[in-house]
Amino acid sequence: MDNTSSPGILQRGALIYYVGSVTFAAGIALLAVGTAFITISRIHYGSEPEKIILSVISTGVGTTLILTGINMMMKQTRYGYYIVGASAFISLLALLIFTSNYPHNWFYPLISYVLTLYIAGFLALLGNAFANVILWMIEGKPEAVVGREREIKIYTDEEIERDIEEATRKSIELSASELKFKEPGVEEVKLGKTFRETRGNITKVKDDIGEAKSLRKTINPGERMKSGSVEVESVSRNLGEILRKGAVQKGRFGKIKEEIKDEMKKFYSSIRVTRNR
């Protein structure tokens, strides 16, 4: 899911996050009910088949829903949603086969097939979630949506157009930056004898160009730090600074807005990093 590229995708991003949390909550509830049912009705090997089916279904479906919900709340890799869908389907299929075959046909080898199917789905869901977490830690910028999506607003066509224009321009500039020009025909040029002696008219001005230092400060106020709470502190200091300076400004205008948004992003992400540790 590429965030920020168009309103449609953004809305879908938020939607899937909410559906995911509902699924997750439903799973928890189902699992709790199932467990309670198992305890209350004292399920054992010889219990009535209906009760056993009911308890297996509720815990089994509950577990699958929990994992599916978690996966839906996460930023997925390219094929993530397919993996999640397929795994959930496999698990549920296993449960379905169980329901229709228990207790009359519930013998070897069907038991092991069904169990394998369920475990496969379960592990795939777990593995996918785990892989996402790892990826997210490596990237160092948590994209799991918590609270983020809400802050992203729908862009107007104008803004999108401008962003696209900006991006294309940048890519053109970048594409050419590696360009090397062949030496124009100066090979057969003979340089004048004193050519290397004169550089031009020289003017010296006493000047310590202290501006370089203030420019550096203006461009990156507050030093960048590596990780943890220190980063939060420095980022929030930046944010505060920018907001304070930006407060004078009313309407939307590109760069500053981008800057604030960027800082917001950094701010939120670093908070989450710290909390998760």
């Binding site: 053109i172 500039e173 050419a176 930056s177 360009l179 090397k180 020009f181 124009p184 025909g185 100066v186 057969e188 040029v189 003979k190 340089l191 004048g192 004898k193 004193t194 050519f195 002696e197 004169t198 550089r199 031009g200 008219n201 020289i202 003017t203 010296k204 001005v205 006493k206 000047d207 310590d208 160009i209 202290g210 501006e211 370089a212 230092k213 203030s214 420019l215 550096r216 203006t218 461009i219 990156n220 030093e223 960048r224 300076k245 930006g246 004078v248 400004q249 009313k250 309407g251 939307r252 205008f253 590109g254 760069k255 500053i256 800057e259």
Partner: protein
């Protein structure tokens, strides 16, 4: 130690730090083609003239091109027009390359940071500065400089508006172009160029008075006073009129462009730089016109650069040193005094 380079239509200026000083090396962006029979090499060598020989022809480069042009009654040619490599001048690229290499000199060490100025997107000319920018970048890179490019107007802001946290309007009135940048906390909000400058004044005055352009330009640079009282038929008078027209045109376009952005509601100081701001009375006249114009932004102070001709080059040096500092580390204090 980092260098700055302002490649202008008329002047190519390199800036670098040398102990307590900033040193500006300047060369005219011009050349003159002569037959080898016109002059002997020994003459040129003994006069320490910057020249090259190619296909039996002699090319005098830089400042000397103008001197020899008057002597031989020829026109010096200029590799650039309107702030970029002239598409009409077939020898432009090799000539500009030679001049730039000369003015810039070898880097002190591999990947010395260099910042070059480039014109902003023009609003009234059908041209694109990208090619020019890329050429100059590639040229400097080839010489083993680590090259960055900034807009000319931003260079003025870096050089002149540090007391205002690099917030303000930077205007560079050069020969081919007038470059304008509006920045907020060192970040450009708007940047563009207008296809009129000193050359335009020379041309217009030359047309109206019938005097040759070179003559008009010389009169202009000898120190005339901009004023409202003008004599009929004098070059000074015509110059004043066209300066007035140029300012009006610049301010009108500035206001038009400002309507397209939403700048923050703060007061912006204005810094003026470039060779065309040098005449006496320029600041006064510009300030009056700017205040009368009721711009879309609030203007606080209007000031002239300390060294109008070198302001952009100095801004480039500041940008280069900032980049250099970033690479060395955020320590910031470490790069001083290396000589």
């Amino acid at each position: 130690m980092a260098k700055g380079l302002d490649i202008g239509t008329m002047n190519i200026i390199c800036s670098e730090r040398e102990e307590e000083d900033v040193v500006f090396t300047q060369q005219r962006n011009a050349f003159l083609e002569l037959d080898s029979s016109d002059l002997t090499e020994t003459m040129l060598d003994s006069a320490k003239v910057l020249y090259i020989e190619r296909d039996e022809r002699i090319y005098v480069l830089g400042e000397d091109a103008f001197k020899f042009a008057t002597i031989f009654g020829k026109d010096a040619r200029r590799p650039m027009r309107y702030g970029i490599i002239s598409p009409k001048e077939k020898d432009a690229i090799p000539m500009i390359k030679l001049i730039v290499e000369r003015v810039l000199g070898e880097p002190g060490y591999r990947n010395e940071v260099l910042c070059i100025s480039s014109p902003g997107e023009p609003i009234d000319l059908d041209m694109n500065p990208l090619y020019h920018k890329k050429m100059m970048e590639a040229l400097a890179r080839r010489m083993a400089y680590e090259t960055h490019v900034i807009d000319e107007g931003l260079g003025v802001i870096y050089s002149e508006l540090s007391d205002y946290n690099f917030t303000g309007l930077g205007i560079s009135m050069g020969a081919g172009l007038t470059n304008v940048t509006l920045a907020y906390l060192a970040t450009p909000v708007m940047s563009f160029s207008i296809g009129r400058g000193g050359d335009w004044i020379d041309e217009q005055v030359s047309i109206t008075t019938g005097l040759p352009k070179e003559h008009v330009c010389a009169t202009k640079e000898k120190g005339f006073k901009l004023g409202l009282e003008v004599e009929y038929g004098s070059a000074d008078g015509a110059l004043s009129i066209y300066y007035d027209a140029l300012m009006t045109y610049v301010i009108k376009n500035l206001n038009r462009k400002l309507a397209e952005v939403t700048p923050p509601k703060v007061e912006f100081p204005v810094a003026l730089a470039g060779g065309s701001t040098l005449p006496d009375g320029f600041l006064k006249m510009f300030e009056r016109k700017l205040r009368e114009a009721e711009l879309q932004i609030d203007i606080s102070k209007i000031r002239l650069a300390k060294e109008p001709l070198y302001s952009v080059a100095r801004g480039c040096l500041i940008a280069a040193r900032t980049h250099e500092g970033e690479e060395i580390g955020s320590g910031g204090e470490t790069e001083e005094g290396a000589g």
